[in-house]
Amino acid sequence: MGAKYFGASVKRKEDPRYLRGEGRFVDDLKLPGMLHAAFVRSPYAHARITGIRTEAAKRLPGVAHVFTFADLERWMKPLPLFGAIPPGLSARIPVMMRQIGQLALCRDEARHVGEIVAMVLASSRALAEDGCELVEVDYEPLPVLADVIAAAQPDAPALYPEWGDNIALSFKAGFGDVEAALRQADARVRERFVIPRYVGMPIETRGVVAQWDARDGALTTWNGTQVVHFVQQGLVAALGLPPHKIRVIAPDVGGGFGTKANGYAEDLLIPAAAIASRRPVKWTEDRREHMMGSAHARAQVHDIEIAARRDGTMLAVRDRIWVDLGAYNSWGIVLPYNTVAHLLGPHRVPNLDVECLGVVTTKTPNAPYRGAGRPETVFAMDRIVDCLARELSMDPAELRRKNYLTEADMPYELHIPYRDGNPLVYDSGDFQAGLEAALTAVDYPALRAEQARLRVQGIHRGIGLSGYVEGTAIGPYEGATVRLDPSGHAVVATGACCQGQGHETSFAQIAADALGIPLDWVTVVGGDTAAIPFGVGTFASRSAVNAGSSIHEASGRVKEKIVAAAAALLEAAPSDIEVADGAVAVRGAPGSVTPLATVIRAAIPTFAKPGVTALDFEATVYHHQPTVTYTSAVHVAVVDVDAGTGAVALRRYLVAHDCGKVINPVIVEGQIHGGVAQGVGGGLLEEMVYDEQAQLMTGTFMDYLVPTAMELPDIETVHLEYPSPRNPLGVKGIGEGGAISPPAAIANAVEDALAPFGVRVTRTPLGPSVVLGLLGRA
């Protein structure tokens, strides 16, 4: 292949524009005659809407339009739903599931604080907000569902009366005989763990700009989304236009994390407003809207039990799981099943019994966020494993050592399917080796010795471990079109969308290697439905594998065309043609070096003769990825706990991970760092808090606490490499992994630090008041 760029930490091609402030984010767009949108949002968690009066708002100077459901009814199809159960999964695990699509504007009922009731268009955002204050809405409050366990009770008021209860999804899964194993066990530990609601919170909020071109009968919409083709499909269904008349562009996007990979109301409302008003329309979400209107995440309860022999050999795990879905089950099987599929992780456990309920509540809908069910399940498992270690008086590292799978176990089949309906088979990795690598890198024995010394001085240091196995790069496909221009430069168009992961560089690395041209001859275009007609998007750590493989294969096909043309031009055998650094040559004939542009020009027909080959230096490949490929990692957290104030300081954080072959090492490290930071936030600081009236209490950055550089240490990383056998590049996904383990590692570390007090940690975030409460002092 001639891997000149693959594996190198090349500087990112996209950085200069960001550094100079010359990026193009959605709010940077200005179109002539543009109107600004603002929304009237429900202040109630659940209410019937019995009247809306918009005359006063319409009369405000500067307000151009006020729209309610009735005004836009022709376009108000339910928003897209995700997470249908694949046949391979439903064949093996019966799942009861109900999904009702959200309407972009409330018709007669609002089901969470922040749901959209009306839209105001004005000449400025400030005037649009003034207009919103003049819209009068009559609300009749309805019963709220603020707690997931209470909402799951059969006598709880039903959010959807036709359902009779609030269970949107339920299934059981497992293998072996857990009851028998529990009876035979020497040790059984059971606990209930609560993973709070916390969220992606990108620094750029969402935004949509839309423009209707009457002459072309076409809509263009710019949207800070991770999934341009999904958004396009939603608009096709709602607007009744063919796909090629709807162009969805994700320009520069300031962080996604899954939060921007949804089918949101505004994705439809802004285009509808542009069509209805015959003016371009812009909406930029403000932070307060974001807190209530952009997807929430996590929010699970696990009642988990583990059984083992006295020597620590794990025998069985039983877990009862409640997932707080919020008001709409938009994501179907995804989060609940991800949770179940990843529960056992790197542990060898011969018996499993899980029961999972997805419950609707009157809160912002729950959607995948970096990890998507895995952080929750790893929290439950790693916590119960540490509780088991304490029960057996074993060091938590030793207990894991005893039960982690190794390379000799690969491929390792878990006897439940994966979420895509295919068998769940770990394809590669050595989780024992990952554990040893982490413990060695952190010098675990020295840490324990230092902990003992500090304890004598009254300093409460704790060490916590967490390990995961992650199915990454879910398919079913992604595509790429690779096309050379007359100079030999390449444009790579892909359905993947970028929110900071460095696609313009890492994908260019793949293409440049496969084509034999310099890195700066490659331009990557993602996030534009006009550039490639079919696509899935960027989430689930899937783009390096799915888009990367299609780019690699398509580039290879274009290179074959270059070789054929060069062979014809230079009158050599194709097998003797070499392509490197943007030029071709005949092997062994240094004088034959010919620039790519010359080869391409030779393919152009003239009056005298046809080109040396067809004038075609283009290829499209849609790479089929039937199932995931597995990464793994072990995280180590070292904390100091101030027993007088409850404050937890994170002193060290180390990750030992495998993500297969690495395209750009520094980009991979950056992804891990960012994931860890978000996970640390989940462990120590972040929570979306609702009160008993399901009112959102965390409405600004004063209350939703994103970690800063002072709450994080340097993040140490150790790389292991077990190439994936499931794609031509041997890569695996790394976008999410960093976020999976930190809450578990930190919770284990805090419990370890406070071991002399016999504290048991059952929830995060571990703020000072919570920690002091654990110590019985608050």
Binding site: G644, T645, L685, M697, T700, M710, G767, P768, S769, L772
Partner: protein
């Protein structure tokens, strides 16, 4: 998040400013640094009809130290006081390090923070601890409001709706006094969950001669621990006595609960921080044997 509409005036003299506040009829707000006001405008939690921007007023940007009094004019930025304090007052330097972050301190004013009266703010507690005074100017002239009569309730002070603060004065501790400052916040620069500031002088015999101890984040306003101060005056500075006084001071507090901390947490940790700040203050005393 755009503010509701308001009128705006930038007076050139104090008289004009006072006049503008009076015509506002209680609906006018002073704009100095704006670091507390503008977020409230953006969230539409504050909806004044008139903003009186005092940034052009002359003579309000001075930091003057004389005869043990530190007077800070209404336009002195927190960062300016921080720079002044770097070589002159370790107490103020340490306190200001905890107030938000440098870009906020570059605009936010000391006086603005003091009169904004957020219960979790540090400077109001320092004003109380150092027995300071707020200099207010209104249609009826100038008056001095002592710190212990200044704070009424969260975000509510003794300033009238037509008054503006032109300066604050702190009584600087004598050079031989020691100081202590501690707070618990969830992140660096955040509002405190609870905090304490203490200034202590020792007599020639090593006993405590004078104590000032104030809490913030432990109630609707900053609180002086008067009973504890009196109990410690003239007493030997033993850890046991300090601890007892700190716990008694905390027990007298009525903190609030919110999503970040319980009542019990604030009370318990107020006591812990009181003990830590008193101990630190004693250690810093220069006059002890």
């Amino acid at each position: 998040m755009k503010p509701a509409p308001f009128d705006y005036v930038a007076p050139a003299s104090l008289e004009e400013a006072v006049g503008a506040m009076a015509t506002g009829g209680g609906d006018a707000k002073v704009l100095a640094g704006g670091q507390s006001l503008i977020p409230m405008l953006a969230l539409r939690l504050a909806r004044p009809t008139l903003l009186v921007d005092i940034n052009r007023l002359p003579g309000l940007d001075g930091i003057r130290e004389a005869s043990g009094l530190l007077e800070i004019g209404a336009l002195v930025r927190q960062r300016a006081l921080e720079r002044w304090a770097a070589t002159r007052s370790p107490l103020f330097a340490e306190v200001l390090r905890h107030v938000a972050h440098p870009p906020i301190r570059n605009r936010g004013t000391v006086v603005g923070n003091v009169v904004h009266a957020d219960p979790a703010s540090e400077l109001p507690a320092v004003l109380l601890c150092l027995e300071g005074v707020v200099v207010a100017r209104g249609p009826r002239g100038e008056r001095m409001i002592p710190a212990d009569r200044f704070y009424r309730a969260p975000l509510t002070t003794a300033l009238g709706p037509d008054e503006l603060a032109t300066a604050v004065r702190f009584t600087l501790p004598p050079p031989e006094a020691g100081w202590g400052f501690a707070e618990v916040s969830r992140r660096h620069g955040d509002f405190a969950l609870v905090g304490a500031v203490a200034v202590v002088t020792r007599g020639p015999d090593g006993a405590v001669s004078r104590v000032r101890l104030a809490f913030f984040g432990a109630g609707g306003t900053p609180m002086r621990a008067l009973a504890a101060e009196q109990a410690l005056a003239g007493q030997p500075a033993t850890p046991a006595l300090l601890g007892e006084a700190a716990r008694a001071a905390a027990a007298a507090l009525s903190p609030d609960a919110d999503i970040h901390a319980t009542v019990a947490y604030r009370r318990q940790v107020a006591g812990t921080l009181a003990e830590r700040t008193l101990t630190a203050a004693l250690a810093r005393c220069g006059g002890a044997r």
